[in-house]
């Protein structure tokens, strides 16, 4: 009988139930979309933020003290100690190697130009193809680490093209203007170790100091500045977990000060400090340090984005709770005769509430499931418009949304149930 009553109520008052289901579907779709994006957005935002460049730099141990004391890292002097080019691949072999998105070596030197002025020349990878011992392959270099560079003229150097000139170079827009050079021109550069003509493949606008520089292929700079196989520094872009208490403790007091259990946790979490530590372990005589602003702002932007999503989710659920409470209250009000009658013929309050709640819950389940699939669509639309990639649907969102829908539906039904309990049959049945 219970089910006959439910069935009657559901099928013979379809339009009302559909309204309730739609309200719930809206809430559930927003919750689904937001939760999925929130869980997936960490990766997405990090990938976005990678556009702002490296968050870790690696320099030789001996130089790091001098560099930071006197800020000599302007290329005007050739550094005393060097890292080895052959160690570069080891960066991908650390515990958090999977989180290393990109990296590139640098060789810096001051060069004298044909008009007698000096400029900084940097040798680096542009899109260097690496085949690691582990069998993993990747493209690394400044093409993606300097994704905000605007190529005003010419194009990026493509290391994977056969036709690339061995002396190809990119020149900063300010320097190009000063020298009056254009794409296709060659310029002479000189150092103590020799001279070289560079062929300008493109002019970039970096919007900063780098506009006064030249960038060329690693071997060219090595020959002019140091020696084959040596590099000055490495820039690394890594996915990191925002710092917390433990990370700060490790950063200020050093990992040695941590208890073994804390050390374990710290080491196995992708904090920027633990990734730096692991890079130092992998590359002999190196010091890896976080580029503060970038690393920290990544964490905060991520936190803020997620906070925003949580707020949207809460608001949308609150909205559906209000909508549901309106609809359900209206429906109970409309049915007050029926409810009064059921009470009059001897139905106890809990049995009537049970029927009303069951109807609403069934409607909620239908709406919730529909909403989940709508939310899937929303998430993909948002993913494609905002992050230009699809959002991965996390299974854990399903129970989460289910629980939220149940809570919201029950909360939305409270006013209606209270009304139902207060209703006195004598007041509705004699037609007053």
């Amino acid at each position: 009988m219970f089910f006959r009553m439910i069935k009657g109520a559901l099928f013979r008052q379809k339009s009302k139930m559909i309204m309730i289901a739609v309200t719930i579907a809206l809430g559930s779709s927003l919750a689904t979309a937001m939760l999925n994006i929130m869980l997936d957005v960490g990766d997405k935002v990090n990938q976005e933020l990678k556009a702002y460049g490296a968050n870790i730099t690696v320099v030789p141990k001996e130089n790091s003290v001098l560099d930071s004391l006197y800020d000599l890292d302007d290329g005007s002097e050739t550094a005393a100690a060097h890292l080895k080019e052959e160690d570069l691949g080891k960066i991908k072999t650390i515990f958090w190697g999977f989180n290393i998105l990109d990296f590139t070596p640098f060789v810096n030197t001051a060069v004298t130009l044909s008009d007698g002025s000096t400029a900084k020349l940097t040798g680096t990878w542009f899109n260097h193809h690496l085949a690691l011992n582990t069998g993993e392959e990747l493209d690394a270099g400044i093409h993606s680490l300097r994704s905000w560079w605007e190529i005003k003229n010419g194009q990026w150097l493509d290391e994977q093209k056969e036709s690339i000139p061995a002396n190809g170079a990119l020149i900063g827009s300010a320097l190009a203007e000063r020298l009056g050079v254009n794409t296709g021109d060659t310029i002479e550069v000189k150092t103590a170790k020799g001279s070289q003509s560079l062929q300008i493949a493109g002019i970039y606008d970096a919007g900063g100091d780098e506009d006064e520089q030249l960038f060329t292929l690693l071997p060219v700079a090595q020959e002019l500045a140091v020696a084959k196989g040596l590099i000055d520094s490495i820039e690394v872009s890594a996915l990191t977990t925002p710092d917390n208490e433990l990370a700060r403790k490790a950063a200020t007091k050093g990992p040695a000060a941590l208890s073994p259990a804390d050390y374990e946790t710290w080491y196995c979490t992708a904090y920027v400090s633990s990734i730096c530590y692991q890079i130092q372990e992998a590359i002999p005589d190196s010091v890896a340090s976080a580029v503060r602003q970038v690393a920290e702002s990544e964490g905060t932007i991520l936190d803020k984005t997620q906070l925003l999503m949580i707020l949207i989710t809460i608001l949308s659920l609150f909205g559906s709770a209000l909508g549901i409470s309106n609809l359900v209250t209206a429906s109970v009000m409309e049915r007050s005769n029926e409810i009064g009658l059921l009470k009059a013929i001897g139905a106890r309050d809990y049995r009537i509430s049970g029927i009303v709640l069951t109807e609403i819950m069934i409607t909620a389940v239908v709406g919730g499931v529909a909403g989940y699939f709508m939310g899937y669509g929303f998430a993909q639309i948002i993913g494609h418009t905002v992050f230009a990639s699809s959002i991965e649907m996390k299974p854990m969102v399903i129970p989460l949304v289910a629980v939220l829908i149940v809570i919201v539906t029950l909360a939305g039904s409270i006013p209606a149930i209270r009304m139902l309990l207060r209703l006195r049959p004598a007041e509705v049945l004699h037609g007053r």
Partner: protein, 224 residues
């Protein structure tokens, strides 16, 4: 002992005495009609007897129990087990069929039994309308479904508040005939009515005015 006894019952709404010191006894198996002008307190009295309301003063003893003193839960039980209710506005559940409306009463009483419910509809002449929704039934038919529902659990006492108020002559007669049958079977009947013809067929008529019982008429020519 009487089945029902009202002792000095008053129902007071602010300055208004909807019932004013009413004393009334109803015997088991009796058929009583209550008449009176509009606003005289008839429905108020029915609500109190039907355990849907409590008196402000006085005792209401139904089957030896003072229902003025019982809790809401106990009153629901008494309504369910002892009382059958019939209203002027038929009050059917509009999304359930005729037979389902009867079964609802069984469901809250004990166990729904479709066969028995169909028999009850047959008794009020509606067997072929069992699968219809209330909106597909005429007023008279709806009231007969209500009667079938009121009778399905074999109540000791049937309370009808203007059961024929919304019916035409023909349907009124069908309802009166059903009451006759019930009376013959020994059910106690209390019927509120404006209609002298409906009152005339009862064994006894009491008249309310301004909440007071002002007159009592025995029907000399009563026939079963």
């Amino acid at each position: 002992m009487s089945l029902l006894e009202l002792k000095n019952v008053s129902k007071i709404y602010g300055p208004l005495k909807a019932l004013d010191n009413v004393n009334l006894q109803v015997e088991n198996g009796e058929w009583l009609a209550i008449m009176g002008p509009s606003g005289s307190g008839k429905s108020t009295m029915m609500n109190i007897i039907g355990c849907m309301d409590k008196p402000s003063l006085g005792e209401v003893i139904l089957d030896g129990v003072d229902i003025a003193k019982e809790s809401g839960k106990k009153l629901t039980e008494i309504r369910r087990d002892k009382i059958g209710l019939i209203f002027q506005q038929f009050h059917l559940v509009n999304y359930l069929t005729a037979v389902e409306n009867v079964m609802v009463s069984q469901y809250y009483h004990s166990m729904p039994d479709e066969k028995e419910a169909l028999e009850a509809l047959e008794r009020v002449g509606l067997k072929d309308r069992a699968k219809h929704l209330p909106s597909q039934l005429s007023g008279g038919e709806q009231q007969r479904v209500c009667i079938a529902r009121a009778l399905i659990n074999h109540p000791e006492i049937v309370l009808a508040d203007e059961p024929t108020g919304n019916l035409d002559e023909a349907n009124e007669n069908i309802v009166i005939d059903l009451f006759r049958q019930l009376h013959r079977e020994g059910t106690t009947l209390i019927v509120v009515t404006h209609d002298p013809e409906v009152a005339e067929v009862a064994q006894r008529t009491v008249v309310l005015e301004h909440g007071r019982l002002v007159k009592e008429i025995m029907n000399e020519s009563f026939e079963t």
